[in-house]
């Protein structure tokens, strides 16, 4: 454990190199902006910036992309409190008490608490990430192809959570993604599959290009008609200074919200939003005056803000230690890792420890940067919401086009991203969640390779999957994750008709 923290200290030192500091700064500033902008969440922001960030080079690229993720958690709170408009889903719970405080003229106090709680959540999240990621990766190193295949099945089974309210449509999106992952040359036997005769498709469909379309463009298409009007009362800089009585009052709420948020964040498919809802409910239940919640309780700001920041670091565990993206944003980060030539998973800690610990070090620095940046940029973040989409979106669309082109210097890639954006737009409208599609596209080829290699080694004997205890456990868990929600849905009593 101490080794991990000494490696982190080295990583923090490495992350202070000017190019890395600049990449982290760019990432967190963009994160603050996309967090504040309704309609553009961290996944869309990271997807749009992916091609540009990759140009920064390995460690800097991932530092910038991760900065967008946790930066968005800070940014979302600003518009939630000042305007009552959640910039992204994990900020929804902050609206309830944060905006109520702003309406009472306590916007500065609420913002100060959101920044402070976000920082505390971030610190605790990073500490837990550092403490747990290496042991998890170490344990995963013992996995052979059979165990890894069973683990992939388990990860894919989380489509029951990621698939939105319609399970069948979630599975449909998953299988579309798995099919798209098969396009190109078969990795074992060699023939070209589903390429429609296009040589450009022989190397397969680049996952990051599809992610840009599915998460970036489709989200923007959905919000094209959105226009926000209103006025925000700006707090003074003085009112944003830490308020000691509030910190003391919320110290335990922040501590356990951060811990719970982290572990909820680890679970694929749950993430920051679920963590904020859970911790807000717990804060209300444990409060001396639960009636204050909804009227402007300071703990109602502290709990969700600490939880969503901590959850963003929790989501890094399955990504870095197991090579499994559990959310849309970590799927984009997964793509970023592949694009800089790194395979996420336990071997990353063995083969590229400098990279891992420097990236974790950049989290620490980015978290500290955000405290100052959020306070300084509050007026900008509050006013950016009112910038017309007719001004903002053409610029973002333009950057997407140039960014996607710059991945392989190919206009065919821009076409693929555009098609993915259009399909993603229709899928979102029809409630086919795009996250399972990306999960299928990323994990499908790994699963196929794993199953076929295992069966080649066992000469077609399927019993290898049940002879190994770890593989068997994962397969049983997979069945449970898929079957239990279906059974619960089947036997749940019907809701009474609305009165």
């Amino acid at each position: 454990m101490l080794d991990a923290f000494s490696l982190l200290a080295d990583g923090v030192w490495q992350a202070t190199a000017p190019p890395l500091l600049a990449a982290t700064l760019i990432g967190v500033v963009i994160g603050l902006i996309v967090g504040a902008l309704p309609g553009l969440g961290p996944s869309a922001g990271a997807a749009i910036m992916l091609p540009v960030a990759v140009g920064f080079g390995g460690t800097a690229a991932i530092a910038a992309l991760a900065g967008i993720y946790y930066g968005a958690m800070f940014g979302g709170a600003v518009t939630s409190i000042l305007l009552g408009i959640p910039g992204d889903a994990p900020s929804v719970m902050t609206v309830i008490d944060g905006h109520a405080m702003a309406k009472k003229g306590q916007a500065g106090r609420a913002l100060a608490m959101s920044v402070y709680a976000s920082f505390v959540g971030g610190v605790i999240g990073i500490v837990l990430l550092v403490a747990l990621s290496a042991p998890v990766a170490q344990a995963a190193l013992a996995f052979g192809p059979t165990e890894m295949t069973a683990l992939m099945c388990f990860a894919l089974s989380f489509v029951t959570v990621l698939g939105g309210r319609n399970l069948m449509k979630g599975f449909t999106a998953l299988f579309i993604g798995v099919w798209l992952g098969m396009v190109g040359l078969d990795p074992i036997a060699g023939p070209a599959r589903y390429t429609f005769g296009f040589i450009d498709l022989f190397q397969g469909i680049d996952f990051p290009i599809v992610a840009v379309g599915l998460f970036g463009l489709s989200e923007m298409f959905l919000t094209l008609s959105q226009q926000i009007s209103g006025r925000a009362e700006m707090p003074s800089l003085r009112s944003l200074l830490p308020n000691l009585p509030d910190m003391v009052k919320c110290k335990w709420v922040m501590l356990w919200s951060s811990i719970i948020g982290f572990f909820v964040g680890v679970l694929p498919g749950f993430g920051g939003t679920a963590a904020t809802m859970l911790t807000y409910a717990m804060a209300k239940k444990s409060a001396r005056n639960p009636d204050e919640f909804g009227q402007g309780a300071i703990q109602g700001v502290a709990a969700p803000e600490a939880a969503n920041n901590s959850a963003s670091y929790g989501a890094m565990i399955p990504l870095f230690a197991l090579g499994i993206p559990g959310s849309a944003t970590t799927a984009v980060l997964f793509g970023g890792l592949l694009m800089v030539g790194l395979q996420p998973g336990p071997l990353l800690f063995v083969e590229n420890p400098d990279f891992v610990w420097t990236v974790f070090g950049s989290f620490w620095i980015g978290n500290a940067m955000l405290v100052v940046l959020t306070a300084l940029l509050i007026p900008v973040l509050a006013s950016i919401v009112f910038v017309s989409t007719a001004i903002l979106y053409p610029i973002v669309f333009g950057i997407v086009v140039f960014g996607v082109y710059s991945i392989n210097y190919s206009m065919a890639d821009v076409t693929i991203a555009l098609v993915a954006g259009a399909v993603g737009f229709v899928m979102l409208k029809l409630e086919y969640a795009p996250v399972p599609l990306v999960l299928g596209l990323v994990l499908g080829p790994l699963l196929e390779r794993g199953v076929r290699r295992t069966l080649i080694l066992s000469e077609g004997d399927l019993s290898v999957f049940t002879e190994r205890p770890i593989a068997l456990t994962f397969l049983l868990l997979t069945v449970a994750v898929i079957v239990v929600p279906l059974v619960v849905k089947r036997f749940r009593p019907p809701l009474p008709p609305p009165i």
Partner: protein
Amino acid sequence: MDTKTIDRAFAAGICALGIYVVWNALTYGYMRGVVPGPGFFPFWVGVALIGLGVVNLVRSLRGLDVPDAEFDLAGFYKTLGIIAATAAFILTARFLGMLVGSGLFILATAFVIRPRWTPGFAGRIVTIAILFPAFCYLLFAVYLGVPLLEGVFGL
């Protein structure tokens, strides 16, 4: 076309995709001796797509889980307009060059999103259309070393 019809058409399209996937999987070879061949996995993925497409279609026809969202026409036309503007940019990039094309792309997308321009808005968006190519040149061509497509104007 309402959301229900599009939902059904999409489900039917998934079935058709599944049939195409299975058909091709069989030509790739399901088994190679006792081990799975290149068509093994696609076969089962295709079967799943057919099954799920049928289930989604039947559920939609029976009125179960109908999507709440409506296809608002204004948003839909704007999306089509942006797609058309991007397609035009892609098709003309070799002729106009990416930098010149991007300026026109900014004006076209702004027009799609807001067709009625006030003088103030027009001034702002034209300024952006002029500055954006310069920004892209500095970021992509100079900083990231991306070879941008040049057109007949040498830009």
